[in-house]
Structures are given as structure tokens and as C-alpha cells.
């Protein structure tokens, strides 16, 4: 009896939350900005997905609280949740007819209201909205009734279709290079998004593939192979991956190559910050300082303008830039490394701001150019070849990533890496075990500064100039977000985080205005629901999951086995 009524209360509550989220997405302008971005041409836009997705999500999470497996109850709860969410929007739409919200909320425009009511007049529009919300809720409930295997295949197929629609421009740029082969694929894309038959075919193919693959026991297949076969497969995968990466800038063209370069620089710096935050547990919010120092040192040393010094070549200046960055890291690190946790975070943040203010000030303007920055920064050269355009620079950045990635991977399970981890877990115990706290922490800090400086130098040569505005606090937050969302301490996580957090917003330029809105929301969401990140480090996952509930007997051995270090 009590449980019964609490189910309905929970459903209404979740519906309300879903409605408020959907409302917020509308009022901050996301829905109207994406209102014409068709995912499937003429059928569904990204804006509509954003209106309905919160209902789907909340209805699905309502399911978790229901003890009974009675399909009717589930459907009713799901429908109620969805309907409640729709009702929130409907009420706002109704009020919007009477009161003009626009005086205060700039995005409560007629365009938004038209999107909410699907272009219909008030009453039928609201009814359609409510009906769709109800259906969304019912779909979520129905989804939870399906067998796990079908559920996985369905959700994967839907996700892939949405992604294909969303990344239409990127994919089309790539496949037009495929000669006559392009006609085999181009037809699934419309001018914006996918064509209806294209979407259907993609849905069916992906769904069937995932369904088929989920039936195969992966472990059994792997175990049946001989070690030599396994090695061949592994090397083959790496080889194919390497060829793809090397061909990327050629295939993607100039515009997407520039995005690729940005992603690359962020991944490089993410790998460095991952050492500081992920391995050693020192939350550094002033990472941008070393980035600025690297960029400005390179700028000052290589620029052909009057403000420059020495006028070195790129290769001559990079080592100096790195030395300066590491020196700054050590100078900052020495006094503050006795602080812990949040204090360290604030001090490093302060340091980053001090650097930015100094660079911007008139005091340093004769050397650093003040608010006008430094232009005409030198490019790397190989023999007589100047690597100036974005496609060529990609290879320089790639070399930097490979170097950084290699160092980070090797350090992780080295003696030093273990010492960092020990310090991260318990300083006092680590010290008692004979770890030199100051040196170990300084090494982490200096290593981070080194890679940040390298990132800054590459950034400066990529853009060809250095302005103080490029080095605001937000860069530190970008890098921090990407390593957290990828998974603190996890090296593949940095790549995932970089692609998702830096690459996606640049490719999907419609989202450009909402990048930090989404960053903020995803940081909160990740910390609340999945603090170990998208691609977690095995040990950290064990800790975080372990702290909450104690490792479950099935889960624990698996995670240990996945750790490649053993």
C-alpha cells in the first residue's frame, strides 16, 4: 500500500524534474538553436529530441524504483512520468500566451513556442505535445520490459542513427573522397541529416549487427585463438589505427584538420594534467599558466616582429620554452606543494590569473605585446619545408601526443608512478614508507608544466600568434573537464574526453554557444552518477565503486583482470 503510493509520487516527481530540465533546455536557447537541425530529414530535428529526451530519461529512471514487474504498472508509471513532464511545458506554453516572458527571458521567443507546439495553434499544439510526452514515457516503460539483448541492440541502433544524422557534414566530407564508392553511401544523407530510407537501413543494419554480436561469447572466442593469432590481431589493429590516424588530415580537409589540431593540443595537455591530477592527485586549476608561458616564450623567441628576442627557429625555441615552463612549475610548486586538496586548487588558480594579468599589463607590454599580443610566430621546418598549414601541423602535434602518451604510459606503472599514487591515497603513510614528498610532488608538477608548455608552444605556432585572451581560466577548466569525463588517471580516457569535449563542440558548431553549459552539466552529472569517467582506470573504478557499496564479488575480479599492468 505504502509502496504503491510512493511509486506514483516518485513518477510525478521524476516527471516534474524531466519537465523542468526540458524547459531549461528550451529557455537557455538550445531547443530553438537546434530547431532546424534535422536528424532525419523532414521527420525529427535535434531540437525536438532535446524537448523529449528528458522525459524519456526520467521515465526510464522511474522504472528503477518499481519492485513489481507487472507490465501494466510499468507502462502506467512511465506514461504518467512522461505526461507530467509534458504538462510542465504545456503550462508554460499556456502562460506564454498571456504573459510576455520575453522581457526577461530572451530565449522565450515565438520560435521556441512554435517548436514546443510543433507549429500548431495553441490547443492542438499542446495536445500533440502532451500526447508525444505520454508516448515517450510509454516507450521508456516498454523499453524496460524488453529482454536485455534486444534492449542493447535497439539503443545502439537509435544512438548510431542519431549520430549519423548529427554528423552528416563530417561524414559526407569524408566519403566524397571515396570515388565511385561514395554513391553507395551518399544516398542515406539528405541536405540536412539523413533520408528516411537511409535512417531505416542504418537502423536495421546496426541493430542486427549488435544483436548478432551480443549473442557471441567474446571471451570464448578470444580464448580459442592461439597466442600468436592474438598477437597478430593486436598488431593488425594497431597498424590499421595508425594508418587511419596518419591519413586523417588528408581525408578530412583543411577545415576539419584545424579542429583535429585543436583536439590534438588538448589531448596532449590532458595527458600532462592527467599526471598531475590523475596520478598524483594534485588538483591544479592554474594549468593554463604553463600553457601561456610555453606559448609566449615560443612567441617571443621566434617572432619576426620588433617585440621579439633572439629570433630563433621553431626547433631552437621549443626546448627553451619547455625549460621556462618547467622552471615556472618548480618555482610555483616548491612553496605550495605542502598545501593539500582545495587550497592547492585555489592557489594554482590564483597563479594562472596572475600570469594572465601580468601578460595583459602595460608593465610587460614592451616584451609581450600587452593586449595586442605577439604575431607572426615562427613555424616548424623540416629541411626547406615549412610546416605552416593545419594539415601539416597535425603531424607535429601527433608527434607531441605520441611522445607524451609514451612517457605517461611508461611513468604510470613505474616506481615514480607508484609513488604518486601512494601520495594521492595517503600522504602521511606514503612518507612513512620512505617516499620523498617534496621531490615526488615536484616531479609531477614539473612534468605537468612540461607538457602544458609543449601544448602552448604548439598552440602558438598553430595559430601563429599569442593573445592574452587565449589563456583565460576557462582553458584550465576545459582540460580538467576532459580528463575527468574521460576518467581520472586513465590514459585512453584522455583521448575519449578530448574527442568528446573538444572535438564534438567544434564539429557541431550549432552547439558552440552551449559548450560550457553542457560542460558544467556533464561535470555535475558525471560526479553524481559515474565519478570514474567514461573510460575509467581500473584501480580508481574499484576504489570509487568500492567506497560506495563495497566491491561486489562478481565485479571485483573482473576489474582487476582488465588492468593491463598485471
Amino acid at each position: 500500500m505504502n509502496i504503491e503510493s510512493s511509486i506514483w509520487k516518485k513518477a510525478l516527481q521524476n516527471g516534474l524534474i524531466g519537465g523542468v530540465i526540458s524547459l531549461l533546455l528550451g529557455l537557455v536557447g538550445m531547443v530553438s538553436a537546434l530547431g532546424t537541425t534535422y536528424l532525419i530529414s523532414g521527420v525529427i530535428t535535434m531540437g525536438q529530441v532535446l524537448v523529449l529526451a528528458p522525459f524519456l530519461f526520467e521515465s526510464y529512471s522511474s522504472m528503477r524504483h518499481i519492485p513489481s514487474k507487472n507490465p501494466l504498472t510499468l507502462l502506467a508509471v512511465g506514461g504518467l512520468t512522461g505526461l507530467m513532464g509534458g504538462a510542465v511545458i504545456a503550462v508554460v506554453v499556456g502562460f506564454g500566451k498571456v504573459v510576455d516572458f520575453r522581457a526577461v527571458l530572451i530565449n522565450a521567443s515565438p520560435v521556441l513556442f512554435a517548436l514546443w507546439t510543433f507549429g500548431l495553434p495553441l490547443l492542438p499544439g499542446v495536445l500533440v505535445l502532451l500526447a508525444l510526452a505520454l508516448i515517450t514515457g510509454l516507450i521508456a516503460a516498454g523499453f524496460s520490459l524488453l529482454p536485455v539483448r534486444i534492449r542493447g541492440a535497439l539503443s545502439m541502433a537509435i544512438l548510431i542513427v542519431l549520430a549519423l544524422g548529427l554528423f552528416r557534414d563530417l561524414i559526407v566530407t569524408v566519403i566524397v573522397h571515396w570515388g565511385f564508392m561514395q554513391y553507395a553511401f551518399l544516398w542515406i544523407f539528405a541536405q540536412v541529416g539523413m533520408t528516411i530510407p537511409g535512417a531505416l537501413v542504418a537502423f536495421l543494419i546496426v541493430g542486427a549487427l549488435v544483436y548478432w554480436r551480443s549473442g557471441v561469447n567474446q571471451k570464448a572466442v578470444t580464448q580459442r585463438r592461439t597466442p600468436r593469432q592474438q598477437r597478430a590481431i593486436r598488431w593488425g589493429t594497431w597498424g590499421v589505427l595508425a594508418i587511419i590516424v596518419l591519413l586523417l588530415p588528408v581525408v578530412l580537409g583543411m577545415y576539419f584538420s584545424e579542429i583535429l589540431d585543436d583536439v590534438g593540443i588538448y589531448i596532449l595537455m590532458g595527458l600532462g594534467l592527467n599526471i598531475v591530477v590523475g596520478f598524483a592527485g594534485l588538483l591544479d586549476l592554474g594549468y593554463v599558466a604553463f600553457y601561456a608561458i610555453g606559448a609566449y616564450t615560443l612567441g617571443v623567441l621566434t617572432t619576426t616582429e620588433a617585440v621579439g628576442l633572439l629570433h630563433l627557429s621553431f626547433w631552437g625555441a621549443v626546448p627553451l620554452a619547455l625549460v621556462v615552463a618547467v622552471f615556472a612549475g618548480v618555482v610555483l610548486g616548491l612553496p605550495i606543494l605542502r598545501l593539500r586538496g582545495d587550497y592547492l586548487a585555489i592557489v594554482t588558480l590564483g597563479f594562472g590569473e596572475i600570469i594572465r594579468i601580468l601578460v595583459l599589463s602595460d608593465w610587460f607590454a614592451p616584451l609581450l605585446g600587452g593586449s595586442e599580443g605577439i604575431q607572426r610566430i615562427g613555424h616548424p621546418t623540416i629541411g626547406t619545408l615549412v610546416l605552416a598549414n593545419q594539415q601539416q601541423l597535425f603531424y607535429v602535434i601527433l608527434a607531441g601526443i605520441i611522445l607524451t602518451g609514451f612517457i605517461a604510459t611508461r611513468l604510470k606503472d613505474s616506481h615514480l608512478g607508484r609513488s604518486w599514487m601512494a601520495l594521492r591515497e595517503d600522504e602521511d603513510v606514503a612518507e612513512a614508507m620512505g617516499i620523498n614528498k617534496v621531490i615526488t610532488k615536484l616531479l609531477a608538477f614539473g612534468m605537468g608544466a612540461l607538457f602544458s608548455g609543449l601544448g602552448g608552444a604548439l598552440f602558438a605556432t598553430k595559430v601563429g600568434s599569442a593573445y592574452p585572451q587565449s589563456f583565460s581560466f576557462i582553458v584550465s577548466i576545459n582540460i580538467l573537464s576532459l580528463i575527468i569525463i574521460g576518467g581520472l588517471g586513465s590514459i585512453p580516457g584522455v583521448f575519449v574526453g578530448g574527442l568528446v569535449l573538444v572535438g564534438l563542440p567544434l564539429v557541431l558548431s550549432q552547439f558552440a554557444d552551449f559548450v560550457y553549459f553542457i560542460y558544467g552539466a556533464s561535470l555535475i552529472f558525471m560526479m553524481l552518477s559515474r565519478p570514474e569517467g567514461l573510460w575509467p582506470e581500473a584501480r580508481r573504478r574499484l576504489e570509487l565503486r568500492g567506497e560506495e557499496s563495497g566491491p561486489s564479488p562478481q565485479e571485483a575480479p573482473q576489474t582487476v583482470m582488465k588492468n593491463p599492468g598485471h
Partner: protein
């Protein structure tokens, strides 16, 4: 500890002391040479001092939110800057509404009271939402987790405000009654400055009174002393935490209103710099300590206002007021290095942080 003094002093200590001596030397040298230059008249110094006091008052009110939350949860509420920012945003809209109806200039005192109350309410509401959604579920998580959540919340709130209200800057409608000034010793003392200082002091007294003399204030102090013991004594810790966030939020909202009297421009990123400074003030005074936050804020306001001209002009640095934010950050770094307990703090933040 049987080590001799030579073993106890490490290279780091020497390095730190060298930095400290260099900075102290620069400050003293700069001050002396500035004063010998006779560039500024006494009335300019007076003017800067009053500006500094007003600024310090605002920082004090923001710092209250940091210091009380830190006292109880041992956590830096990084999103407090957005709690602060939501106050002026509300104030601008309320003030525009009042200005439209003409009430703002007819009844300035009542209008200001309305603006203050509404803004404080909204800021407190934002703080409570933060606590409920972002911090309560993470109360027993590892230390970095709530801090990262707070950073995320800060950005989420900033860009939510940007999305809802636009990315431009809002001008604050002028209140005629506040634009008058008195002339004292050749300096204009604006009514806004007096209102800001008086408002901040009044608000501080109220807060101090609540913490020191009410039952719930006593409970707050008990919880910050020892959470488990307080719970055993029958104190509802959850309720105290909620109350603390609400009180800190309201105080930040009041600070926001006063801040816009001084700088009448409101935008979505306005919270960051004043809040970092307020945090500095809280650390300077001794975090977790209410009178300490006030003292630290006044000192920081003065340093920021008088400091650039006093310390830097003599060193031959051009346009020293550009560096006023850097001074606040340098104070933060130095205080954390040399005296992390702050001026009035007793608890060792080094061990608990």
C-alpha cells in the same frame, strides 16, 4: 623530534623565506619611493581608502558564505561566485521594474529594501538548490569529487544565466538619491559608498548575532566543531547545513546588491573575480571564522584599492591599477604559504584541507 635545527630547515623553507623577503623588500622599497615622489595628494589617498573600505565590505559579505560553509562541511563552495552573481541579476530586473513604475526615485529607501530582500531570497534559493542537488549526495565522497562538482555547477549556472538572460551587460538604473556626495577634505564621498559600508556593517552584525547568540547559531558552531558529537547531542545536522547555505546565500545576495551600487554593470561572468577575492579574504582572516572574514575582507579591500598606487608606483611600474587583481591573488598565495591559518584562525587548515 631529536633532529637538530639544521636538519629541520629544508631547502624549501629557505626558498620560501627568500621569496617572502624579496616581496617584503619590494613592498617596503616601493612604498618609500612612492611617498618620496609626492605624486598623490592626501585627498587621493583618502578617496582610495574609502573605496577600499566599501569594496572590503562587499567582500566580507561574500566571504561569509565561503567561511561558514567551510566551517561546517570543510569544503570550498566553488559555485558561491554564482550564488553571488544571481543577486545582482535579480536586483537589476527588480530595479528596472521599479524604475519603470517610477517608484525607484520616489521612494528610494523602500525600493532599495525591496531590491535587497528579493535578491537575497533568490541568492539563498540558488544556494539551497546547489546544496540539495550537487553537494548533499556527495557528502561522503572523496574530497576532490564535490570540488569538481562545484566547478561544474559554477559553469552550469553561469551559462544558464547567459542562456536565460543574454550574454550582454546590463546597466543598473540610476538611483538619484544616491548620486549626491559630500566633500570632506577635498574628497568626494559618495552616498553610495556610505550606503555600501553601512549596509555591509549592518549585515555583518546581523550575521554575527545569528551565529553567536541564537540557538541555531550555537548549533552551527557545534556542527562545525564536531559533526558526529553534534548529531549525538540531538542537533539535526542536515537542517543546520541547509540553514548555513541559505544564510551564506542571502549574505552573498546582499553583497551582490551592494556591489552593483559600486559597479553598476551586471553580466553573467561578474561573479568570478569578486568571489575569488572574497575567498582570499576568508582565508586571510582565518577560514571558518566570522569576524576573521570581516577583518580579512577589509584588509584585502584596502590592499587592493590603495596597494597598487602605494607599492607599485615607486617601483616605476606603469599603470599600476591594472595589477590590482594580481595583488589580491599574490596575497592569497602568500597567506596560504606563510600562515594558512589566517590572521584569526586557530584551526590548522593544512591538516584538514
Amino acid at each position: 623530534m631529536l633532529r637538530t635545527w639544521r636538519q629541520r630547515i629544508t631547502l624549501t623553507d629557505i626558498f620560501i623565506w627568500v621569496i617572502g623577503l624579496v616581496i617584503a623588500g619590494a613592498v617596503i622599497w616601493g612604498t618609500i619611493s612612492t611617498l618620496r615622489l609626492h605624486l598623490y595628494t592626501p585627498s587621493i589617498w583618502l578617496d582610495l581608502t574609502i573605496k577600499g573600505l566599501a569594496l572590503g565590505g562587499v567582500y566580507a559579505l561574500i566571504a561569509m558564505g565561503y567561511t561558514m560553509v567551510y566551517g561546517i562541511l570543510k569544503m570550498i563552495n566553488f559555485a558561491h561566485s554564482e550564488v553571488f552573481m544571481s543577486g545582482p541579476f535579480t536586483a537589476v530586473y527588480v530595479a528596472m521594474g521599479l524604475a519603470k513604475s517610477g517608484m525607484l526615485n520616489k521612494q528610494p529607501i523602500i525600493s532599495m529594501a525591496i531590491i535587497a530582500v528579493v535578491s537575497m531570497g533568490v541568492s539563498a534559493g540558488v544556494a539551497l538548490l546547489l546544496e540539495r542537488i550537487c553537494y548533499r549526495p556527495l557528502r561522503n565522497a572523496p574530497r576532490l569529487v564535490p570540488l569538481i562538482t562545484a566547478i561544474g555547477a559554477s559553469f552550469f549556472l553561469q551559462y544558464t544565466f547567459r542562456g536565460l538572460f543574454g550574454s550582454g551587460s546590463f546597466g543598473y538604473p540610476a538611483i538619484k538619491a544616491l548620486q549626491q556626495y559630500w566633500t570632506v577634505a577635498g574628497t568626494h564621498i559618495y552616498k553610495t559608498q556610505v550606503v555600501v559600508i553601512a549596509g555591509a556593517v549592518m549585515m555583518m552584525l546581523v550575521l554575527f548575532g545569528i551565529v553567536q547568540w541564537t540557538k541555531i547559531g550555537k548549533a552551527m558552531r557545534a556542527v562545525s566543531e564536531d559533526k558526529e558529537a553534534a548529531e549525538l547531542m540531538g542537533i539535526n545536522v542536515d537542517r543546520i547545513i541547509v540553514f548555513t547555505f541559505g544564510l551564506g546565500g542571502a549574505s552573498a545576495g546582499a553583497a551582490g546588491v551592494l556591489y552593483t551600487f559600486l559597479f553598476p554593470v551586471v553580466n553573467f561572468y561578474m561573479g568570478f573575480i569578486p568571489s575569488i577575492k572574497a575567498f582570499t579574504a576568508a582565508v586571510l582572516g582565518g577560514i571558518g571564522n566570522v569576524p576573521g572574514a570581516f577583518l580579512g575582507a577589509i584588509i584585502l579591500g584596502l590592499l587592493e584599492s590603495v596597494g597598487p598606487n602605494l607599492f607599485l608606483t615607486g617601483l616605476g611600474i606603469p599603470s599600476p591599477s591594472q595589477l590590482k587583481d594580481a595583488i589580491a591573488f599574490i596575497v592569497l598565495v602568500l597567506i596560504l604559504i606563510f600562515r594558512p591559518t589566517g590572521i584569526l584562525g586557530e584551526r590548522i587548515s593544512k591538516d584538514k584541507a
